[in-house]
C-alpha cells in the first residue's frame, strides 16, 4: 500500500466535514463537523511529515490541536450564550438582523 492513501482518506474526511457544515442546522453538530475537518488536516500533516522524513509536519499538527482546543472553548461558550438568549441551538433561528 502506498502511504499516499492516508492523504486520500484525509481528503475524504475533510469533504464529509465540509458537507456536514453545509447540511446540518444544529450549531453543535456543525461544530463537530469543523472538528472533523481539523482532524483530517492533522492526518494530512502527519502523512506529509512521514513523506518528507522530518518532524515539522507533526509540530504543525500539534499547533493545530492547540488552536482547535481554544476554538472549541470559545465556540461552545458562544453557542451557550446564543442558546440562553434564543432558547435554540439551530443556526437558522439566529436571524435577528434579517428583518
Amino acid at each position: 500500500m502506498n502511504p499516499e492513501n492516508y492523504l486520500y482518506l484525509s481528503v475524504l474526511l475533510f469533504t464529509i466535514g465540509a458537507a456536514g457544515v453545509l447540511l446540518r442546522r444544529n450549531a453543535i453538530v456543525v461544530f463537530m463537523c469543523i472538528e472533523l475537518m481539523l482532524n483530517a488536516a492533522n492526518l494530512a500533516f502527519v502523512t506529509f511529515a512521514r513523506m518528507h522524513g522530518n518532524l515539522e509536519g507533526q509540530v504543525f499538527a500539534f499547533f493545530t490541536m492547540v488552536v482547535a482546543a481554544a476554538e472549541v472553548v470559545v465556540g461552545l461558550a458562544i453557542i451557550m450564550t446564543i442558546f440562553r438568549a434564543r432558547r435554540s441551538a439551530s443556526v437558522d433561528d439566529a436571524n435577528l438582523l434579517k428583518n
Binding site: N2, E35, N42, L43, F62, A69, V74, A89
Partner: protein
C-alpha cells in the same frame, strides 16, 4: 516506499470505519449519536498517527480530542438539551442538494489534485520517519517546539489564556436585580394578595400521586396550579 501488509490491512479496515463514522456523524438524527460517531473517527485517527510514527500526537489526540474536546461537546449537549432536533424546514431553497453536489465536487477536485501531483512528481518515495525518530519521537518534537518554534509555542500559550478568559466572560451572567429569597418571595405574595398560601401539592385526592398529576379541588376539578410548569400539559384530556 511501500508499507507492510499489516499496515495495509489496518488502513483498509480502520480507514473504512473512519469514513463510515464520519458519514454517520453527519447523518445521525440526534446530536449525541453524532458526538459518539465523531469520537470513533477520532480514535481511529489516533491509531493512524501512531502507525505513521507520530506516537506523541497519537496520545495527544486521545487525551485532548476524544477526552477533553468530546467531553466538552457532550457537556454542552446536556446543557442545551439532548433532544433539540434539527429543523427540517429549508430556509434556502435547494440548499441540501447543492451542498451535497458541492461536497462531491470538492472531494473529486482535491483527490484529483493529489493524484495529479503524485503522478507529475513521479511518485516520490516516502522517506519515512525512522531517521527523524531515531532519538525518540517526543525528544525530536520537543527540540523543534522549544527551539525553532518557541515563539509560536509561546503565542499558543497566550491564545489558550485568552480563550479561557473569553469563555469565562461569555459564560458570566450579570445579575441586574437582587436575588429573590424565601423572605422576599413571601412578602411579594402578601403584597399581591392573589395567592398567599403555598401552592397545592400535585396528586392530592386525584387518582394517582405522580408529580405531573394535578390535585383535585373540593368541587372535583383539577388544579393546574398544583403541577410544576415543566410538567403542565402532559396529561391533557385524561384527568
Amino acid at each position: 516506499m511501500s508499507t507492510g501488509t499489516a499496515e495495509a490491512v489496518q488502513f483498509w479496515l480502520l480507514g473504512g470505519l473512519a469514513v463510515l463514522g464520519a458519514i454517520a456523524m453527519v447523518c445521525a438524527t440526534k446530536a449525541v449519536y453524532s458526538a459518539l460517531f465523531l469520537a470513533v473517527t477520532m480514535i481511529i485517527l489516533a491509531v493512524f498517527y501512531i502507525a505513521q510514527g507520530a506516537v506523541f500526537l497519537g496520545v495527544v489526540q486521545v487525551v485532548v480530542y476524544t477526552g477533553a474536546v468530546m467531553m466538552l461537546f457532550l457537556f454542552v449537549l446536556m446543557l442545551v438539551g439532548v433532544d433539540s432536533a434539527d429543523s427540517l424546514t429549508e430556509t434556502l431553497k435547494g440548499q441540501r442538494p447543492a451542498a451535497i453536489a458541492a461536497g462531491i465536487g470538492f472531494g473529486l477536485v482535491v483527490i484529483g489534485a493529489i493524484g495529479n501531483a503524485s503522478v507529475e512528481s513521479g511518485r516520490p518515495d516516502f522517506v519515512g520517519l525512522d531517521a527523524a525518530n531515531a532519538g525518540g519521537n517526543v525528544e525530536g518534537l520537543a527540540e523543534l517546539i522549544f527551539v525553532r518554534y518557541l515563539w509560536a509555542f509561546e503565542l499558543t500559550g497566550a491564545l489558550l489564556i485568552i480563550a479561557t478568559v473569553g469563555a469565562m466572560i461569555l459564560a458570566h451572567r450579570e445579575r441586574f436585580t437582587e436575588r429573590q429569597g424565601q423572605r422576599e418571595l413571601s412578602e411579594q405574595r402578601f403584597r399581591d394578595g392573589t395567592h398567599v398560601t403555598p401552592m397545592p401539592s400535585p396528586g392530592v385526592y386525584a387518582r394517582h400521586n405522580a408529580v405531573d398529576w394535578p390535585a383535585r379541588l373540593p368541587d372535583g376539578s383539577p388544579s393546574e396550579l398544583s403541577v410544576n410548569p415543566m410538567h403542565r400539559g402532559h396529561r391533557d384530556g385524561e384527568m
